[in-house]
């Protein structure tokens, strides 16, 4: 199990190789990608920023929860920060498991939790020169 905030291009094949195992029959992945259009506005790119120490702690907690709930420690999560152009991967989640259902369930759990709990922000830059903070999450992360 490994989670990280990274500043370089995410290499999905390397992440898959990191968790794959002959004992596992299933590898599920999710990759988030910067879209060219959001709410009808043409996007140049997204500047991701994070509260690094807390984001890494929270990502690690989420991965540990998934490892426990779905009985596999073959989990890797990377979230990128900095300026990303259209089509670049912002987040990648890879889970390898003996069976397919828990592999897919674990990926889904991790991305859904990451979206509401991990302190990462995005500032979208538009082709007209404007920019805006995106409030995609609910912000209603529960105190714990």
């Amino acid at each position: 199990m490994r989670t990280a905030i990274v500043e370089k291009t995410i290499d999905l094949a390397a992440l898959i190789a990191e968790v794959a195992s002959g004992a596992h029959g299933a590898v599920a992945t999710f990759v988030g990608v910067v879209r060219s259009v959001n709410d009808g506005k043409p996007v140049l790119g997204i500047d991701y920023s994070a509260y690094d120490a807390m984001a890494e702690k929270e990502m690690n907690a989420i991965a540990a929860e998934a490892a426990s709930m779905f009985a596999t420690s073959a989990i890797v999560v990377e979230h990128r920060k900095g300026f990303l152009g259209v089509g670049e991967a912002s987040v990648a989640i890879v889970v390898s498991h003996e069976r397919r259902a828990p592999a897919m369930d674990a990926v889904r759990y991790i991305i859904e939790e990451l979206k509401v709990r991990v302190p990462i922000w995005k500032c979208e830059h538009y082709s007209d020169g404007s920019r805006d903070w995106v409030h995609a999450g609910t912000g209603a992360a529960r105190p714990r």
Binding site: Y51, H135, P143
Partner: protein
Amino acid sequence: MTITVQLFASYAEALGAKSIQVELPEDATVEALMVALSELPGANRLPPKPLVAVNLAYAAPDMILTSGDEVAIIPPVAGG
């Protein structure tokens, strides 16, 4: 006691700083910190009850702060 509060993203822009120092009585709660924050210049651009993290975890309003705590206010998150 003096609490240093880290600011991020839209909140850092709203207050024009990456961190601010707030003077609070001993045993002040997270809620008392929020009241103090709301009196700062530019605070009207923050939501009335922003999320607060203490020592890298989301904190309930009645949590008591201690000198040396790492405190941050957390804008609505948008990872992924």
